[in-house]
Amino acid sequence: MTDAATNAPTGPSSTKPREEWTGQIGFILSAIGSAVGLGNIWRFPGVAYENGGGAFLIPYLVALITAGIPILFLDYAIGHRFRGAAPTAFRRLGGPRGRWLETLGWFQVAIAFVISIYYAVVIAWALSFFVFSFDLRWGDDPAGFLLGDYLRVGDPGVSFEFVPGVLIPLLIVWVATIIVLAAGVAKGLQRANVIALPVLLIAFLVLVVRSLFLEGAAEGLNAFFTPNWAALGDPNVWIAAYSQIFFSLSIAFGIMITYASYRRRRANLTSPGLVVAFANSSFELLAGIGVFATLGFFAFQQGILVGELEGLTGVGLSFITFPAIVAQMPGGPIFGALFFGSLTLAGFTSLISVLQVVSAGIQEKFRLTPRVAAIILGVVCTLLSVLLFSTTTGLIALDVTDQWANNIGIVASAVLMSIFVIWVFRRGPELRHHLNSVSTFKVGRIWVLLVGLVAPVVLGYMLISRIITLLVDGYEGYPAWYLGLFGWGTVALIVIIAIVAWLIPWRESPDDFAPWPPLPEASAETRTEVTR
């Protein structure tokens, strides 16, 4: 029997070859580009500082090894073995009696769809601030400039009063995204990452080296690295570590399933996965050094301690604190341009990966080409993005949607994936066999235990405690009706999309498929399933 005859795909998948990365390096760079995003720059430094400083390294590395890397491998295994976007992969994984598992794939696609709509807006802000950096347009009142002059933030509500300063860069971001997605995996996604990632790394390295020579930088690094051992006894610090690793690695909402599905069948999975995971953490550490050296300078300028500074994470850090620092710094415009340019590039390479989850899902369900899918998806996303988030209520809508889509949507997705794949369908040993058949870094039985036990327990705790907090305390003092609409409404929309998309018939069934390599003891059963 020839290789071609034993090649696993049968039926439709053999008549239409799948897109592929051009090789290992293309895949690794694209996966790093996806993992390294806004959170690496604006979330990690503040989270580490507030949760034990140097001591945070311990829960962080424990979380990386016990949850981050194992779930990353799970995503890779599902996407690579079942060779499809999340809906296709989960449908095939479910087998003849579990085709409904496709809904979990659409759940992940819907999360990616919602996230992309507002994530693009933050990249548009970063792009605007990149331009503003050259003449330090925020003057000496960055907060007033951001909320008043730039975003023109109003009260919580639904407004159709557009803000041109956001609208134009937002359209630029969407046009660029559509062009990349339309060009396909190798010529679009991979090429964009191969260009953007080295530029990002060089720009950020220059920024970090410059920050180390600022007055007060040493005090900033003292604040960042001095360990607070008492923090290790606080369960919330451990939850913060798992949360940071989990959100930072782009896992459990379809991205890595989709990306792994574009690797050729005979491709190493786990060893490149380790490179991706450590590269993501390496960039976070670099960001921590750069951000806290810069904050040390800011505290020195004001004659206060780093601990007395406010706005150390998220939008506040990037669009209020950093502009304030840049305004006081010699060579501020260049520093500002490097920072916001880095933020734009890091965000853009993540945005295209999030959108590819949706694009691949609809390509496979409706038999669309990448170009047609990118245009349809791009038009819909652009419209929603503009209508909801480029208005005077955009910042508040974004904040609320992000809180629910991330902390409930993605975490629920991870818990459900673990429970269904490991416990209900009992595919852990098969996926482990798959990883070990093609990879040079072998995973033991402990891998199944980690994804089947640690992930659902830790993430399940995170999910339940967050749901209770949001139900009892609300969020940021916003009105209940508003949280119902943009918060819980987002979760409801994601569930509805998951069910409706599953009910729509496939243009061409993906079920005539046999995974490769077959399980030694189950190969006969698998063949029966295929011919059934």
């Binding site: 990365w21 290992q24 140097g54 390294l57 010529k187 995971a277 093609v438």
Partner: protein
């Protein structure tokens, strides 16, 4: 910087960046498994990708 902060700076660099270097070296030395199970050969891609650049 204090000695303690310097120690943790170096420790973090060794563990995290060291992890990156170690995993990259591991991959470079073992880019592929010695032998694959039969089958699993891919046919040509539909996107006419550029040349293969495997490590």
């Amino acid at each position: 910087m204090t000695g303690l902060a310097i120690f943790f700076l170096i420790l973090a660099i060794l563990l995290v960046w060291g992890g990156l270097v170690a995993s990259a070296i591991y991959l470079a030395r073992r880019p592929e498994v010695a032998s694959y199970p039969p089958g699993g050969t891919d046919d040509h891609r539909e996107d006419a990708g550029i040349i293969e650049h495997d490590t």
